[in-house]
């Protein structure tokens, strides 16, 4: 039996990991957090936003993922997320600033406002903030 999991994390905009060998993965599954070890039963699950972690030897990485799906098939774990980000790459302060900026832009409703872009920016900022909060919670 293989003793490693092959982890793949894909988002529409980027492939984060492809078939990376890891020891252990936790997924923010729909009904609660789910730990996956090699030899796990095959399953398909919906993910909600949360923290995905994986362990490779002593190295541990945190990923923030935003609603998506995961498929565990034999020893490969496939994560299809709408958005994912390495948790350490998220900067809470800049997220907060972006949030404020987007909010102001929407509140002012200037004549040449690009509504879609502003809304998209707001959504993104909200997500970032949520993730950074999650990260804090996870650490404490």
């Amino acid at each position: 039996m293989a003793h490693k999991l092959l982890l793949t994390i894909l988002t529409p905009e980027k492939s984060f990991l492809t078939d990376k060998e890891v020891d252990f993965v936790t997924l923010p599954a729909f009904g609660g957090e789910m730990g996956i070890l090699p030899g796990h039963i095959s399953l398909v699950t919906q993910l909600k936003e949360g923290i995905l972690t994986y362990k490779d030897g002593h190295k541990k990485e945190l990923f923030a993922v935003l609603s998506g799906f995961a498929e565990v098939n034999r020893n490969s774990v496939l994560v299809l997320a709408e958005e994912a980000e390495l948790a350490k790459e998220i900067n809470e302060e800049s997220a907060r600033q972006a949030y404020q900026k987007a909010k102001d832009a929407l509140a002012m409703r200037g004549k040449d406002l690009d509504l879609d872009a502003a809304q998209a920016a707001l959504r993104r900022a909200v997500v970032r903030l949520k993730i950074s909060e999650l990260k804090k919670k996870y650490k404490s």
Binding site: P12, G31, S42, F69, D116
Partner: protein, 298 residues
């Protein structure tokens, strides 16, 4: 006849235009690289997503499937009298026939379906302006999205998908068509017209029957598929946006390259004329001087 000064002025203005077109070409060339990478990056996601959905779809038996909400996305609605069109054009001009070809195709489509009520989702300023100009059709702009290129991201696709699905959730909409430019290569774009919804039944069949037999599902299969399908549509819309974006940049690059070339030719021609004229003037002046001197000396 144009004087020397006129020609010099003309040359200068052409040179200025050439500078602009050349700069635009370089900008497009730099951006297209990014757009192409975005397309490449979106591909694995779309492929795996499709695989997952077709596996799941194969798992559900017909009866159970018909009960689910997801079935509404597949069902044909022959009696509904409204059609929806998603028109993906560019925001800016100066890109050759990129927009005009697309709008021509849209006009043909509208003509074919003119006896029905049509709802249009416009992406890109050009398509919105085009639809607004049209008169005498039973048209309605359901949603417009302008100014997203060349920075279209998945968020835009999501927003758009939300609107499209909302539109389609009404029972009166028969189907959603899509007209966009496909990025075939750096040199050519193709106008593509497809049906986005209802989803076709010919999802690639699961490779080996019952691949997911021993799988456990969380939540159940049905809600899982219901949650997956909108995202599948989203992935498709995202791909379309990226294709159109890359195609626009490619079209602009070619158009601007051609424009720069034409400007160079024009400048060459004008310079030749300028020099000829200058030489004739010098010659006449010389001959005048010579003949004057001869008259004096003679």
């Amino acid at each position: 006849m144009a004087s020397l000064r006129d020609i010099r002025k003309h040359i200068k203005s052409v040179k200025n235009i050439k500078q602009i077109t050349y700069a635009m070409k370089m900008v497009s060339a730099a951006r297209i690289k990014k757009a192409q990478t975005a397309i490449l990056c979106s591909r694995p996601f779309a492929i795996r997503m499709e695989g997952l959905i077709s596996d799941l779809y194969g798992e559900l038996d017909g009866e159970e499937f018909k009960k689910s909400r997801a079935y509404a996305l597949f069902a044909e609605r022959p009696r509904a009298g409204t059609r929806a069109l998603v028109l993906v054009a560019g925001d800016k001009g100066l890109c050759g026939s990129f927009n005009s070809n697309l709008l021509k195709a849209a006009a043909v489509w509208l003509k074919e379906n003119r006896c029905e009520k049509i709802k249009v989702v416009c992406v890109g300023r050009k398509s919105r302006d085009f639809i607004k100009r049209l008169k005498g059709l039973d048209l309605e702009i359901a949603y417009e999205m302008v100014g997203i290129f060349p920075k279209a991201g998945y968020v835009h696709a999501e927003l758009l998908t939300g609107k499209i699905l909302e539109l389609f959730s009404g029972p009166e909409v028969r189907g959603v068509s899509l007209i966009y430019n496909e990025f075939k290569s750096m040199l050519s774009q193709r106008v593509v017209q497809t049906e986005l919804l209802p989803l076709r039944h010919n999802l690639p069949a699961a490779a080996e029957g019952g691949k997911l037999k021993d799988f456990s599902f969380e939540p159940e299969r049905r809600p899982l598929l219901e949650a997956l399908l909108p995202r599948y549509v989203g992935a498709q819309v995202y791909r379309v946006l990226l294709e159109s974006q890359a195609a626009e940049l490619a079209a602009r690059m070619n158009a601007m390259e051609a424009a720069s070339k034409n400007a160079s030719e024009l400048i060459d021609g004008l310079t030749l004329r300028l020099n000829k004229m200058r030489q004739t003037m010098i010659t006449t002046e010389l001959s005048e001087i010579v003949s004057g001197a001869e008259a004096l000396g003679g």
